[in-house]
Point group: C2
DNA sequence: GACATTAGTCGCATTATGTGACTAATATGC
DNA sequence: GCATATTAGTCACATAATGCGACTAATGTC
């Protein structure tokens, strides 16, 4: 997609931050903007976005943006919010932001205009785009305890070590193996399959899958220790 | 505000769900719509909303909507999301939803066009409005552990019993007094003032205020028990 | 002064969590 | 084959958090 001809202002766009685990951290999918020949060379990558065509719902729009950038991948997607400050590459006033979680190892691109970047190795972004990315990652972290986001970053079956690595990646700190597994077992969240994976060296790991939802209600007390 | 003359479609509106504790549950501020003489008599109340005037940011818009409906009250406000399904009373395609938390006892109205309704005693709403209200309440609940929302539903000073009641109201279940206070003390969240409140019968209660933030980081393990 | 009512605390049983050390199963180097 | 490295998975025990009933404290009402 090349530069727009001084676009008339679109009312709103749907922007999608697609995240996937890579090299022990998160990576985000960005779109190449223009050919670098324009006057604004400093910003060459943007968060993929679409604008409404004809009465499409927000969800459909986000799915279309995702399909357009990753190539396929019906992944888990959730809305983060709306942003109005600063300019948008498509000239829209409003950005409706979605995060999409792409399972490890399934991070594809639809064309060479798209590329995955590790968060520690990002290209320059505009203020608004940078903020949207930051809020997206924070949104995923905040939902970690309430929604199965960690599992959406993994394939349907996974080893417990992989699951722990995802949690460590999202929390930004190491977890103790025995504690992690004990808590996981207590919640009866995952179920073992009869498959094992041999990763080269070391003992093979058993594969697990996310168990059927059990509507367990939290009956425990209030945690005041993570109010921020 | 009376019926609009077959409004041209606005690009988007900002809708504000204002919540306050009342009679041991939450109450929401609604706006009377039209005079009841129109053909659509069944829906006479709507969630207060505004549309953009001239390059206002979303935050300013929500503040204006709030001022317009409650009369004053600079309360704590946060964005919930964007909604596109179903019709909006203002004819906009998109609703950007905000929740505002109004401290107990400070729930005023700017005019007789506005009224507070307990959630158990709501008037009929459209599908979209009903959904937005439901999502707003869920958003507040989901943020209970991460953000000091419970304190935003109380005045600057409060008794510990009042605080516990707010938590019980938001969680929908009873908490044990001693456990609640022990956890609260461990987090060093609140500070006692030297004031006491005598509520008629019973022993007077000491008043507390929310202490200064202390950036305590969560070093504890993962909770799998409330994934849903 | 007995009683009702609300605030606030204590002690102990139970459960959850942190942590290091242990065993198990595989690959590699010699 | 056998020692060693590497990763998976478990155990046992100490410490911390939580559930919960019973207690004391301070007020108003009769």
């Amino acid at each position: 997609m090349s530069r727009e001809p001084r676009a008339r202002r679109q009312p709103y766009s749907v922007d999608v931050v697609a995240l996937t685990p890579r090299d022990n951290e998160l990576a985000v999918l960005l779109e190449r903007r223009g050919d670098g020949a324009g006057r604004d060379k400093s910003v060459r990558w943007v968060i993929p976005w679409t604008v409404s065509k004809s009465g499409e719902g927000l969800t459909e729009l986000s799915q279309r943006a995702l399909r357009n950038s990753t190539g396929a991948a019906t992944t888990w997607t959730t809305q983060v919010g709306a942003f109005s400050d600063g300019p948008h590459p498509g000239g829209s006033e409003l950005s409706i932001l979605y995060v999409a979680l792409v399972p490890m190892g399934q991070a594809t691109v639809s064309s060479e205009n798209f590329e995955w970047f590790r968060l520690s190795d990002l290209p320059a972004l505009t203020e608004r785009q940078s903020q949207m990315l930051q809020v997206s990652v924070a949104a995923v972290r905040d939902r970690l305890d309430l929604y199965p986001v960690a599992f959406k970053l993994l394939p349907a079956t996974f080893t417990l070590s992989e699951l722990q690595h995802i949690y460590e990646l999202l929390l930004g700190r190491r977890l103790h193996k025995a504690s992690f597994r004990r808590a996981l077992a207590a919640a009866a969240l995952v179920e073992p399959t009869d498959e094992w994976r041999s990763e080269g060296r070391g003992r093979p790991a058993q594969l697990y899958s996310l168990g059927t939802r059990k509507r367990r209600r939290g009956k425990r007390g209030v945690r005041f220790d993570l109010l921020g």
